[in-house]
Symmetry: C2
Subunit: 384 residues, 2 copies
């Protein structure tokens, strides 16, 4: 066997052992040997290395049964940290996330629509430096920044191709933020980061095929297929907002007629609401709905119909185990969950109905920050 | 390193070497060593084993340049054969396919709509035995039968859950055909087999993300994502025929309103045509179209519009490198290719337009048979 192969296998084994300690701690060396099929000698060697590198610590515990003390292993959750950032039209969120995926602190900063690209970046930089200092985290323990934002994101090259919501086009966000902060930076579409978080500790945990739908100012989806984020050819997979669902319907700003987004996005609902009543924002529509005003019920009835049709279409095409509904509209007006579920029950194709689960996001507004932080950890933290 | 790991690596290396000879023959031992990074001694050992097992033969050729003779390697295309079978409403196709994916002989047998399940199976058995005998193929060289058919197929358990077209429900096709023929049998959805063939030697060759759309008596799609058939949770991924594309439109036999199939399937076109004129089959519609009858042009205009909308929706959701259009409707009325392409140009979302390729099936009516034969080879022929 070649030396190169041996090194690769050694590295894989080390990552495997660390993964097991991370997910199943506290755990004994003997149990790890059983799970992996590796020899106790190999396990002891690997654990010693991980201990020296600061990833693993020992915790002494009394085992149940005969009462003998056994040394168990646990990960050190402060060995490394990553920063998760969400940039949206009106808000920036920054979170410090530790090695086991817990948010140490999350900060919300308002963003102005008039704000320039570099003003936003400067805001991110200033706030994350303050956060790091406040939490007294040594710089060398921070391995990088993950950013989630709406739009067509070239994650490979760190370029925002187009973000209609932020009004950014062809900006080198990863490079620019790296220059400013001196940390490694990865950027990706916000919904893809959200499903990474749901996969890590939310609704999609242990799911092989899951689709997350985001319903708010923008309409989109992201998916885990065969256990991995599915991106398609240019990281655009999941653009459900621009699927045509009514070819004789509303005109969409993309130039097509009848796109889903023209029926269920916040902007579309507000636009139609203003044909009836002077309102400021979507919140006024929700208030009118709660007050029983019929026009608001008609509008939201159409919205829930199109959401359920979208769920049904996603199900036909991706045949996932679960569909996770998320986004501002559902979070702010949870009353629409019931009609959505009733309509899903009417529309979903019979042979698929019994198996699929329609659920809601568990991580709510933390999802993008957490997912982005986990994603950059996954990308950079491959042990040698 | 554990002994088990060594054995696994040995097996992987052997399969890798065979794969390289199969795809890049004629090729020298030295070139294989270069590509794999393995030592010339290892390559010689592996090639000797493959030679003994009958997979590989030597061909002596004069190399270009200095004129020295070099011994090159090639696969033996008759070392193993598989049988591909397509069962459709009115036709059964059976093909013998050799080790390198060439169809040795393909036979078409008419199927009656009134035919029972076991009558069809008996027909398959009788004809494939005749074919094998006629081509003098020793039984021990046939490793199995792959069957592609329309419907909801549980490929894991070899069960046809529902096939509306064949009127079969919950039949153990794999098991029953194995009993009858004494060969190993694998069954799968016809479009999934078709894209396996396109991936092997047709339009999708070298593509990582490709979607094949089938337009004929049924409407469906199949996809290769990240280089593999994507099945979803229960092998139903790609059911585009039942995606809703017009929620105030036609009633579908699935109980929903406005499914794509109600606009572009043969049955739907024929049903609407009969509102205008007494016709026998879809062929009469095509003839009227060629004769310039306006009703037929109106109908096919609507059909091409909905086909292009479906292409646009698939593109938004899967973001593939290519979409392969296939099926009877396009094969029998190729005149509609031009309007489909024109409408795709109007509907496809601008940022995706430049990269995606809209192409047609290259394997035509051989696709399902070839794909099923290749699939069973891939499943069973993993060397020890």
């Amino acid at each position: 066997m070649e030396k190169q192969d041996q090194l690769l296998m050694k590295k894989q084994n080390k990552n495997l052992v660390l993964e097991i300690i991370k997910n199943q701690s506290p755990i004994s060396r003997m149990e790890i040997a059983k799970i992996t099929g590796m020899s106790p000698t190999s396990i002891t060697r690997i654990v010693n290395e991980l201990h020296l590198q600061g990833f693993v610590k020992e915790t002494e515990l009394v085992t149940s049964g005969v009462g003998r003390k056994a040394v168990l292993l646990d990960v050190c959750d402060d060995v490394f940290f990553t920063i998760g950032v969400e940039i949206d039209k009106f808000i920036i969120k920054i979170g410090i996330v530790n090695y086991v995926g817990e948010i140490v602190e999350l900060r919300r900063i308002p963003r102005l629509e008039s704000e320039s690209y570099f003003e936003t970046l400067e805001k991110v930089n200033m706030n994350l430096k303050e956060l790091i200092e406040k939490n007294r985290i040594p710089h060398q323990r921070i391995i990088g920044i993950g950013v989630g934002l709406p739009g067509f994101i070239d994650n490979q090259n760190g370029v925002v191709k187009v973000s209609d919501q932020l009004k950014w086009k062809n900006v080198n966000l990863a490079e620019d933020l790296k220059q400013l902060t001196a940390f490694e930076v990865m950027i990706d579409n916000e919904l893809k980061m959200k499903i990474v978080a749901e996969d890590f500790k939310g609704s999609a945990k242990n799911s092989h095929h899951a689709v997350l739908v985001g319903i708010g100012s923008g309409i989109g989806s992201a998916m885990i297929l065969n256990g991995e984020i599915y991106r398609g050819d240019s990281n655009n997979a999941g653009e459900i907002g621009h699927t045509v669902i009514n070819p004789t319907g509303n005109v969409c700003n993309c130039g097509k007629i009848g796109c889903l987004a023209t029926y269920i996005s916040e902007g579309a609902i507000v636009g139609d609401a203003r044909k009836v009543k002077e309102i400021d924002s979507i919140l006024d529509v929700f208030e009118a709905y709660r007050n029983g005003e019929s026009w608001a019920h008609n509008l939201m009835d159409r919205t829930t119909t199109y959401i359920a049709l979208a769920v049904s279409n996603i199900l036909c095409l991706y045949n996932p185990e679960m569909i996770i509904l998320s986004g501002d509209t559902i979070e702010r007006l949870p009353e629409i969950k019931q009609p959505i579920e009733q309509k899903c029950d009417l529309y979903i194709w019979e042979p698929l109905k019994e198996r699929v689960k329609i659920v809601y996001s568990q991580l709510g507004e933390h999802g993008v920050v957490l997912g982005a932080a986990i994603q950059i950890q996954n990308l950079l933290l491959d042990l040698e």
